[in-house]
Structures are given as C-alpha cells and as structure tokens.
Symmetry: C2
Subunit: 255 residues, 2 copies
C-alpha cells in the first residue's frame, strides 16, 4: 500500500481562520497533516520574512481534532520553519489557504497565501496556493473538493522544479461551477487611493483604499475565468529576468 | 532647456538610514527629489502592503537640507501613497535604495528595496532598485555615481513597460570596480535554520539564521558578477505565468 503523503498546511489569514480549518478537514482525509500558520492575520504581507524579531511557536488546538502550530511570523516564515527546522521529514506537498478572497492578476505579488507556496517551491517541494472568491465562509464545500483534487493530481503528476499552482475557486456550489480552467496570470490590479481621516486627538491618518482595475478581457486569464465561475489553475514561476530586454540593455553603452 | 526630472526616492532600511541619504545626495544633483520612505527599517518585507492598519505620514528633516516623509508602512506603501495620493504630478522615475546588502538571486523576492521598484513599474513609472554589497556605510561614493548614471540612462532610453532594473554595486572604490555588467537573476538563496534560545522567563524563542547557498557559477548571474566587483544590472519583470507548463497541465485530465 502506498504510504500516506505528508502535507504541510499554512495560510495568511492566520491559524484561527475558517479557511485553514476547511483545508485541514479536506487534507486530513488525504494524508498526514502538519499545520503551521501565522498566529494572526497576515494578509498582503507579500513574500516577507522575519529576520529582525525573535520567533515564537505555540501549539494550537481547535474543535474537531484540529492541531497546529501558531507562529508570530509570516506565511513564508511558517514554510521555512516547518521545512528547515521543525518537521523531521520533508513534506510531500505544501498547501496554502484556503484564502478568503481571490488571488489573481498583479495582486498575487502581495499575497501571503501565494508567497507560502512560493517558499515551498524554493525549497523544492510541490506547492499549491488555494483561494476562494469570497470573504464569506459559507462556500467551502467546493473549495475543499478542489483542494483534494489538486493535491492528488500534483502528487500524481509532479510539478516542474520552481513552479507552483495558484488555484482560485469561484463563489458558487459544485453544480453552478463551470469546471476547471488552466489560466494565465491576468493584468488585474488594485488602484490605491488614500482616504484621509482625523483621530480623536485631531491628528491626520489614512486608510489605504481603492478599487480593482481589470482592462484585460481574455478568457484564459485568471480573474476573468473566476468571474465566469471557472476554477482557475495558473502555473506560476519566479524566474524574473526579462530576457527579452537583455540585448537592448547591453547596447546602452555602459563603459 | 529640458525640465529637471522629478524623482521619487524610497528604500526599505528606513528614512533615517545612511543609504537613502546618499541616494538623496546623488539625486539632488539630477532633479527635483521627493523622499517618502518607511519610518523604521523594513528589510525583508517583500511586496507587503498595509491594508489593516491606519497609515501616518510625518515630515522629516536631516542635516544638509534632506527633507522627506516618513510613513509607518512598507516600501511598496510609500510608492503607492506618493504616486496615488501625495504627489501632484507623477514622478519621472522611482529610485529605491541604496540598500545596505546585496539583493541578488532568489533573495530579491524578499527585498523591500526591489518591491518598491516593482510597485513603481506596476504604476507605469520607470524604476530602479539600488543595493550595495556591504552593510558598512563607507562605500557610497561608487554607488552614488552609479545611481546618477543609471538614472540618466533610464530617462534617456526608457524601460519596457513592466520591467525594472535591479542594480547591485560591489564593495569597492571606482578604481577597483570591474565596470558595468548586464546580468541575469541567479539561483542564490538563503538556507534558513532556526536557532533556539531561552528568554529570561524560561520560554523558548528562535532567531531565523542560516547561510547563503550559490550553486550557480555562471559569469552572467547577478551574485557572481557582484562577487567579481562588477556593477550588476538585471532587468526584472513580474509576468509570473509558467507558459512552458500550460500544455502539460492542460492534459492532466480535469473534468
């Protein structure tokens, strides 16, 4: 009999979020799960790591047998710590999520959920980032079944070294869902505008507000697929050199 | 006469760091400078943005006429705020640095310095990230002249939409420097290992430690060029889709 896979579960909404509980439930049925996640919400932390503060790790239990470790750090920290120092054996897969809110377009650069999976692939472990296109926790059934499907397919097929899967699940039931679609990272981005306010002491402060801009209407882009109730699956890699610009740049005449 | 360019200067070491002062000095000679930077060190914050906390902006002066704005946020926040809400006219260029310590290889994913430039290009503004391969502040002369050269060349030639330049300056004098080299992002990464300690109350805590691993010896890679006293100039972009994997993934048999 094939041995049960070992699964590292993390997220950026924090270890007490409903999404990581749903993911833990789904993964429990598939293998041996270790949960290591931030002790509080760390949304939009990007690929931050904690180098200037001491790190603490605390065991956490929730109802239903959920056990995990809370870290006063970022999602990337959690993966680094679990893989590099905490787990005796390297996990077979890292699954990050289930994030409340889609991670598509340019916004994946800000995503702690995706950064945890990015850390996974940098350590050579197949990794999946999983998000759902809603901030309400009434829609996890489809996402849980997607988590199981994706995890099985990744372990069966493998992923290229350095590539993760960024999976976004629509806000709908299985019967309303259009199915799976392989997508490309779209151009969707957040246009920020500071909102000025005054505190009770009369001092100015600001909230970061704004709106989502999407000028790209192609069918195969992550945000558009998601809006049409597709489960969006995007392969993501971090080789960032703009090779197409190397020749031009070489002719700029640096002495 | 051509109008003086407007230059947005930021960093991740914080507005009180020596590196941003050196950069301000260099840029003052070239155009009209606005400095907006984190109020404290924000190293390794990656592409984090502040969405859950109120933001405060405070005017700062230092010796020699240095004026700027300190933000209780990340480097990416500073660029978002300056461009989206603070400056009346969009800057001609964003220059981020001078970072104490190189930003090469996989480590640019964690870099606040590079993320500020990434935010710049997402907003459509040509952007440069500038780092120096030392943590000592005795070596800014070469980096200041590099900042001026790079800034002139970028404004003269332009950059492709969505591409920034990641520039790393060696720890040496101009006479010891090998010159400019156009490079590719290398495979250099940080292998983390937690170091366990005990606080005065007997509770465990950890520091993130570790070492740099570089298995890639090619001449044209950022870290290797830098080690050989070249000024490394790498064009960086954030189209993250792994297009080479789309076909294979499409054949995984998603129903």
């Amino acid at each position: 009999m094939r041995k049960r896979p070992s699964i590292l579960v993390t997220n950026d909404d924090g270890i007490h979020a409903p999404g990581i509980y749903a993911l833990w439930e789904a993964m429990q049925e598939m293998g041996d799960v270790t949960v290591m996640a931030p002790n509080t919400e760390k949304s939009a932390v990007g690929h931050a790591v904690t180098i200037s503060d001491p790190i603490r790790i605390e065991p956490i239990t929730r109802h239903g047998g959920f056990e995990g470790y809370a870290v006063n750090g970022t999602p990337a920290d959690c993966v680094k710590i679990a893989v590099g120092s905490f787990l005796e054996v390297e996990p077979d897969i890292v699954v990050s999520g289930i994030n409340a809110g889609a991670n598509v377009g340019s916004n994946i650069l800000y995503s702690g959920t995706v950064s945890a999976a990015a850390e996974g692939i940098m350590l050579g472990i197949p990794s999946i980032a999983l998000s759902i296109n809603t901030f309400k926790s009434d829609y996890y059934d489809l996402a849980k079944s997607v988590a199981q499907t994706m995890m099985k397919k990744v372990l069966h097929n493998g992923l290229p070294k350095g590539t993760l899967l960024n999976v976004n699940v629509p806000k709908c039931s299985a019967s309303e869902c259009s199915g799976y679609k392989i997508t490309r990272q779209g151009g969707e981005y957040f246009l920020d505008k500071l909102e000025k306010r005054e505190d009770p002491r009369g001092r100015q402060y600001f909230w970061m507000g704004g709106k989502i801009i999407n000028n790209d209407k192609s069918d195969d882009q992550d945000g558009n697929a998601l809006a049409n109730n597709w489960i969006s699956v995007t392969p993501i890699q971090y080789k960032l050199t703009d090779n197409s610009f190397i020749d031009t740049l070489s002719n700029w005449g640096f002495e």
